[in-house]
Amino acid sequence: MNLIDASIEMTKGRLKKIGENPDPRRLRSNRLGYEIELKQFYEVQEAWRQGKPLSMGVGGTLAKAMGLQRVDYPLLVGSFPQEVPKYFQTVRNMGWPEHICEFVTLGLAAATVGDAPPLSLLLAEKEECTVATYAQMALTEHFNVPLFAIDDPLDYNEESIKYVADQLGEFIEFAERNVPGIKYDQDRHLELLEWSRIGFSYIRREWELRKLVPLPMTVWDSFQMPMMPDASAEGVKYLRTRVEEIEERAAKGVDQEEKLRVLWIWVAPFYANFLGLMDSKGVAIPHAVSGGTGWQNGRRGAIGDEKEFGRKLSPLEEEARMQMSWSWRSRGRMWEDEILFACQDLKCEAIIYFQFTGCKLTSHPARMVADRAEKELGVPTFIISGRSMDPTSLPAPEFESRLTEFLDMVMAQKGRG
């Protein structure tokens, strides 16, 4: 199955459905988000057809400024659960470990069997996510393409950002030397970063709206934190429209009762109807932690922020700052602190911690987070382990019944049963 062609058809189907039979509870602005996604799929399809340089691992804005088409393998696979068993088998055939993050390995498996475009360049960034780094190194062998590795430090500070930016400079030289068709354009980079800066300001505005009780959006719209979908005028328009729509809903008032507010960490078993379950019980999810909470609420890593380090950063330093602001890639304490801050700031009353198989960075701190949340905030945590695309380790009915049990217990304790 050609995952790009299939993604195009799927997105077109979604847009048709939204156009013909929109769900009045969902945000209308989702349409703009899907239109951007569709445009991006077409760009990858075109680049694949024309043999243009394709890459993974390079940040979106930098890739564009270098004339590289970025491919996001993990996102491609997530939409096609029927293909998952085949890709698991490919992982085994390749000799790679299978008990690790499926987001990374299944996407790579799709590329190795030709369901996703082949790469011309890889950037393996040591983000402490060894799975991503070493899977990319393993993939270099398969595609026989140049690989450039970047050493990401643990600490988020100016010195570390400069260190990564220096390496990105070396990466650009390497890419221009080794891959025909690549040329870094700094002016274009600055322009893209400016779009991102404006886009992120809307993301931070949305954070403020997520503090509202009741939450002015459904769990389907709140579960995925908005990302900068595309460093462009369209990307900014989408984020602005989304925020304005949420503000409008908040101003009008929400007529749905909110019985509980839950902070979700980190991914989820996407084969289960957990969002439907939460919605039916009147549970809101103001935030699903993904590690980007720092730039989502403006506490860390905001593009163009001159106050953070007392100066304007160069374009490559901005790239490095974006990359390094993800809290899961740092020391455990930063991840824990960020979760506790989000929990308190967004008035969450319980935490659901999905211990994602193979993701050691986010799964190990589960018990520590639970202990601290209980002690420091009086908030209970439900920890459950499983995979996101493979229901064999945690069947959907089991997950849903355990989740229900926890939610009922917390609501009963609060007298909202």
Binding site: P97, A124, T130, Y134, L154, K360, L361
Partner: protein
């Protein structure tokens, strides 16, 4: 001399391994646990403290650790945490480790919350060796020097650091001499003994270890190891394997482990520090970036090193015993297998736990590999 050798071989045993640490503390000096071999121990030694390599408990039960740890995770660290929770490591004054992988990075949280250790320090080691990363790592080593100085209330200057490097380099040279003798048809030490001696170096004061091994080398020149097989000769590859019983198991199955590619074995001491460098921190950085751990991106150099050892130590094949859930090693495996196949070097890879377990199953699998090697060499 045989008694002296046996004493050195058993220095890293469960019963003996804390002996030197306690003696050191008895003299009013500090002992700093070292969790992996990316930590420049010379810095600790230069401050008059004893760097002491941490092992996990070799017992099977890690139930207390698993309350905190997630499944599918480093068995080595599960066993170390079990030791922490059982109070076996309470005597340590400090603990230093590297960002070897994500498991190690997160281990700090456990250690800080659950142990009594006063100093818990992570030294950041880059994943590749370049001028930029050497400079960065040298800066991190200087930071580490500052931390150790403050913790030990001792001054580390260039001279004391160079002196420590000299002691450690001497130990490395002695271990290499011992390993050179393993090239012989019948070497003076078995694979298990060689690993045990290397581990002894990590729990004893290094000058004392050097003295012991130096005194033993003339005896080893003449000694013939008491091994059941001299063929096939196998190169054993693994990481975080600190229990010589695993090596004994391989040899008892019917081969000679003539060389290893382990971070607890050859890769612990193979590279020397450039003593002539003006900046000892930079020299240390250069040396430790040549660790050849799978977490380093120089997989090609790692494969070349392995193939070179295979030739020099006349081994018939490579036996890889990867600890389950060691993701970096698992990802490197297909790459390495491919390179070894291209070079015509037989290879087999089996997963193992940290503590000695699944002995019957491992014996059967290893036995099948050895049979294949035998038929290949006979043919």
């Amino acid at each position: 001399m045989e008694d002296k050798l046996k004493k050195l071989v058993s220095a890293g045993n469960k019963e003996n391994r804390t002996k030197w640490a306690h003696e050191w503390q008895g003299q009013g000096k500090k002992v700093v646990g070292v969790l992996d071999n990316m930590v420049p121990e010379e810095v600790i030694y230069a401050a008059g403290m004893l760097p002491w390599r941490i092992q996990g408990t070799w017992q099977e039960d890690v139930s207390r650790a698993m309350i905190y740890r997630m499944p599918q995770t480093s068995a080595f660290l599960n066993h170390v945490l079990q030791s922490v929770l059982e109070g076996e490591l309470d005597f340590l004054d400090g603990m230093v480790y590297s960002n070897r992988d994500e498991d190690f990075v997160r281990f700090r949280d456990y250690w800080e919350s659950l142990s009594k250790t006063r100093l818990v320090y992570l030294i950041e080691v880059p994943i590749m060796d370049s001028e930029l990363t050497r400079r960065r790592f040298a800066a991190k080593i200087r930071e580490f020097i500052g931390v150790i100085e403050e913790f030990g209330k001792a001054k580390i200057d260039d001279k004391s650091l160079r002196d420590a490097v000299a002691v450690y380099d001497k130990g490395r040279a002695l271990l290499r001499k011992m390993y050179e003798l393993r090239k012989r048809e019948l070497p003076p030490v078995s694979g298990g003994e060689a690993l045990a001696i290397t581990i002894a170096a990590t729990v004893m004061p290094r000058d004392e270890f050097n003295k012991e091994l130096e005194g033993l080398l003339p005896y080893l020149e003449k000694r013939k190891a008491n091994v059941s097989h001299t063929r096939p000769r196998v190169l054993l590859s693994s990481d975080l394997l600190d229990n010589p019983a695993y090596v004994d198991l391989v040899e008892e199955t019917g081969c000679l482990v003539a060389m290893d590619d382990m971070d607890t074995g050859s890769r612990y001491f193979w590279e020397m520090v450039d003593g002539g460098s003006e900046d000892p921190a930079y020299a240390l950085a250069k040396r430790y970036l040549k660790s050849r751990l799978p977490r380093m991106v120089d997989w090609q150099e790692q494969a070349e090193q392995l193939m070179q050892w295979t030739r020099e130590f006349h081994t018939d094949g490579v036996l890889d015993l990867t600890e389950t859930y060691d993701h970096t090693r698992e990802f490197r495996r297909p790459f390495l297998e491919h390179r070894l196949k291209e070079a015509g070097i037989p290879e087999a890879s089996f997963e193992r736990d940290y503590h000695l377990s699944n002995v019957g199953q491992l014996r059967t699998r290893i036995g099948a590999f050895l049979e294949m090697l035998e038929s290949k060499t006979a043919g």
